[in-house]
């Protein structure tokens, strides 16, 4: 069972470095929320792993549990209503069993996160410089002067012009793209080994999106960080990740190395997602295909495949029996009885 879930790693990019150990292993992670409407099953039995320097894209529509998954992996779900099970091993340390202060010591220096909306993720009443220097000051014990130098250096790394001037500004004096760059600078300030990016470009203009993604990718290579990029846009992850996990209704429904996924789609849901991306080659005047219907109610127990109600290939079996994640070779895993392009 366990070995079945294990996803063969994609080849790491750097030459000559032997990456035997994995950096992060998430197994059977399960998150439920106690809500007024009942137990909400947000993340169901999710497993994946990540090697040093590797990048993983987690794709899914709103409400598919991708944000909860990334927060639960970091241990950031602190609400009393969240019930978590499963294991998260970071550098051979089981972090779900750590105390709050031990966990805190991992945040910032081992795992850091870039949030979706840079308008709300920066404190409006504090200067940019203070907010960037906070991490190095508190977590790395730098002096005020060194931390300021570090802040300037970080702003240069995220390609902000005139960093000395920007240090003295307040968040509302910066543009959205600049703020997201500042957020990235804050996140990488303590040299984390894994960077979580939770829809880092959703709140930004399309033109700025590409710059920010490019920046995250180049920083990842420069600092040899691992990256977990959470997004609802398959187009976003295409050029920036080594492998992709597609989430639907709290489950991973398909996971594969990026190239493999795009060339051999197995899961009907992924196909539907790909079809709904607007393309320059689309004939004009034709409606963009949409996925009819909605996500199943996460508070209700599910029989069968979560996507069956919206799937155009669904059969009786799909509605009654629950598909398991199967390994289709080439590191390609999918959760479907009737995978596309596979002859039975």
């Amino acid at each position: 069972m366990q070995s079945n879930r294990r996803c063969p790693s994609t080849a790491p990019r750097q030459q000559g470095v032997k990456t035997v150990s994995e950096l992060l292993r998430v197994s059977n992670l399960d998150v439920r929320f106690d809500t007024a409407r009942g137990l909400l099953h947000a993340v169901k039995d999710v497993s994946f792993n990540l090697e040093p320097g590797e990048s993983l894209g987690i794709v899914g529509e709103s409400g598919s549990g991708k944000t909860v998954l990334s927060r639960a992996t970091m241990g950031l779900l602190t609400m009393s209503t969240a019930k978590k099970s499963g294991s998260v091993v970071l550098n051979d340390v089981e972090i779900t069993k750590l105390s709050r202060s031990e966990l805190r010591s991992k945040w910032g220096t081992e795992m850091a996160i870039v949030f979706q909306d840079p308008m709300t993720a920066l404190n409006p009443v504090r200067r940019i410089g203070d907010q960037i220097a906070e991490g190095p000051r508190v977590r790395l014990g730098m002096s005020k002067k060194d931390a300021k130098q570090r802040a300037i250096e970080l702003l240069k790394m995220v390609q902000i012009a005139e960093p000395e001037k920007v240090l003295k500004k307040f968040p509302l004096q910066l543009s959205g793209g600049m703020r997201q760059r500042v957020m990235i600078a804050i996140a990488i300030a303590c040299n984390p080994k894994i960077l979580f990016a939770d829809e880092p470009t959703t709140a930004l203009d399309v033109t700025v999106q590409a710059q920010i993604l490019g920046l995250i990718s180049s920083l990842r290579k420069q600092l040899n960080m691992s990256l977990i990029l959470v997004t609802h846009d398959l187009g976003v992850v295409a050029g920036h990740t080594d492998k992709i996990a597609v989430m639907y209704a709290g489950e991973i429904v398909e996971m594969a190395p990026t190239k493999e996924l795009f060339s051999n789609v197995r899961m009907p849901y992924t196909e539907a997602l790909l079809n709904s991306i607007p393309r320059i080659t689309n004939q004009s005047g034709i409606r963009l295909p949409v996925i009819e219907g909605r996500l199943p109610d996460p508070t209700l127990p599910q029989n069968g495949c979560g996507f069956s109600a919206r799937c155009k290939y669904a059969t009786e079996k799909c509605h009654t029996e629950r598909p398991q994640l199967v390994d289709g070779g080439n590191g390609h895993m999918y959760r479907c009885f009737f995978p596309l392009g596979v002859n039975k």
């Binding site: 602190t78 805190r104 220096t109 920066l122 504090r126 906070e134 508190v138 977590r139 804050i186």
Partner: protein, 283 residues
């Protein structure tokens, strides 16, 4: 911030500054002795030697106002300051820690809010600052302390609830989660991220509370349990409450000062709140 103040706020600010100046520099001003009788009884305003006239005992009203401003403002500022500090700490604790702490503190706030403040002050003064022997008087300073304590108790739950609400909102702000995700300790998050954001709403309510407390202190004096004789605006009113027919200025003068000061406090409080709201909407 001062530049953006409206006309009324500027006037209010000037008035409060003047009152503060009276309270601080009062003894240095060339005024008649406030506790000395003069020959002019019940003189109107602008009588020579008495800028705002005298009451029926011949006390100089302006001198008493200046001396009284010290006690009125002192009581108001100390009790609101203490109440804001304690209420603020409790409110932040409730809003940030949530759970049981929040539950207990909210019940505590609600219970204290249900106690009428005049009755609370009456009881406290009766128990703590009254001598059972009618021939012995209790020192003014002791009564002052008890009044301040009773007013502080009234302020704590008001400020506590306001701070709790504001803290709840800011604790859920993404930048607080971001600070957490960088491994900041809770106290540090409270100091650097919660307090600077919560403080403006505390200021705004505290100014309104100062106005309320000045009025309550006046009411206590009218009931005969204020501080001493004629050394606060409220006790000036109490001393002259029977003289409206014969010397109306002896009531109107302290009343005008009291009313204007309360209005000024409310105006500044409102201006602060508006400033705060517009700042938030800019985000």
């Amino acid at each position: 911030m001062l530049r953006n103040l409206g006309f009324f706020s500027k006037i209010s600010f000037a008035w409060l500054s003047l009152m503060l100046f009276f309270a601080i520099a009062g003894p240095l001003l060339p005024l008649p002795d406030p506790s000395e009788f003069s020959d002019a009884l019940g003189a109107g305003i602008f009588t020579s030697g008495h800028l705002l006239g005298t009451d029926l005992n011949g006390y100089d009203l302006f001198a008493n106002i200046v001396v009284g401003s010290r006690n009125s403002l002192f009581i108001a500022i100390i009790s609101v300051g203490l109440g804001s500090l304690l209420g603020g700490i409790l409110g932040i604790a409730a809003g940030y820690l949530r759970g049981k702490t929040d539950y207990v503190l909210t019940i505590f706030f609600n219970i204290f809010l249900s106690i009428p403040n005049l009755i609370l002050s009456l009881v406290l003064i009766a128990v703590l600052a009254t001598s059972p022997d009618p021939t012995q008087t209790v020192a003014d300073s002791r009564r002052l302390v008890v009044i301040i304590i009773s007013l502080t108790i009234v302020i704590i739950p008001i400020l506590g609830r306001i701070t709790r609400g504001s803290t709840l909102a800011w604790t859920n702000a993404e930048f607080v989660v971001a600070a957490k995700s960088m491994g900041m300790k809770d106290l540090m998050i409270i100091r650097r991220h919660i307090i600077p954001n919560v403080l403006p709403s505390i200021y705004a309510v505290a100014f309104l509370a100062i106005g309320i407390v000045i009025v309550v202190e006046g009411a206590l004096s009218l009931l005969g349990i204020g501080v001493g004789q004629g050394i606060s605006w409220g006790s000036m009113l109490a001393r002259s409450q029977g003289d409206l027919e014969y010397a109306p200025t002896s009531l109107f003068v302290p009343l005008t000062f009291l009313a204007l000061t309360v209005i000024a406090c409310n105006q500044i409080g409102d201006a602060l709140r508006q400033h705060l709201d517009s700042r938030e909407s800019k985000l």
